[in-house]
């Protein structure tokens, strides 16, 4: 539901739910979450595209950029203080959220 309505976040909700409610290991929870989210994402993508709520150009450029970014991210994963980054982005998300609410 969250994934379809808001276009993101299904994974985080699912991983959290599976680790807390079903005591699944982090690793397995991630893998299982992807296998559930992927078909859901394909379905909601089709619904968005069919209704004309999609931009091919932006999507292609973002996808290319994010592939490069994902590679960089996984390379530097063990070298950077991830907790600090989580905090910085957590705060940015809260500020952005407040901005979006009243924008």
């Amino acid at each position: 539901m969250i994934n379809g309505l808001l276009g993101s976040g299904g994974g985080v909700v699912l991983v959290t739910a599976m680790t807390f409610l079903f005591n699944l290991h982090d690793h397995k929870a991630h893998a299982t979450a992807i296998s559930i989210i992927l078909p859901l994402t394909i379905i909601s993508s089709l619904i968005y595209i069919k209704s004309g709520n999609a931009s091919l150009e932006i999507t292609i450029i973002v996808t290319l950029g994010s592939m490069i970014g994902a590679y960089i991210g996984s390379k530097i994963l063990n070298r950077i203080p991830i907790n600090i980054i989580r905090r910085v982005f957590g705060s940015m998300m809260i500020i952005t959220a407040i901005g979006m609410m009243f924008y």
Partner: protein
């Protein structure tokens, strides 16, 4: 060009295990001025290729709990359809407001998970 950089930043964050979409969607709305629905569709579609690759790797490593999938896939699909159909029906500003509440919760979640992460180490 801005779009490309937003993509790279999103990818880096996803690679680090921090939600990429929660950054991508507001960035597109603020800098490119797309409506909320388009930003969300970009995030949804961009997720597909990388997750197909990830899924193949996980499948080979036998990290997937088939029982869990059986229990969650049908309600998941039904809920996704309802969610997506709602998203394309309501107007962009309203959707933006709903998204901002969600983003707020996710921001707090990042904070809490940063704390837990410390404890585990």
């Amino acid at each position: 060009m801005i779009v490309f950089f937003i993509g790279i930043l999103t990818g880096i964050l996803s690679g680090l295990g921090i939600g990429g979409g929660t950054i991508l969607i507001p960035s597109l709305v603020f800098f490119i001025k797309t409506n909320q629905q388009i930003a969300q569709s970009v995030n949804l579609i961009a997720f597909i290729p990388s997750s197909v690759v990830a899924l193949i790797v996980h499948f080979k490593n036998k990290n997937i709990e088939k029982n869990m999938i059986k229990r969650l896939i049908v309600p998941g699909i039904a809920a996704t359809c309802i969610g997506s159909l709602l998203a394309i029906k309501i107007n962009s500003d309203m959707l933006k407001k709903i998204f901002s509440i969600f983003l707020f919760c996710m921001g707090i979640f990042e904070y809490i998970s940063a704390k837990n992460f410390k404890k585990n180490n």
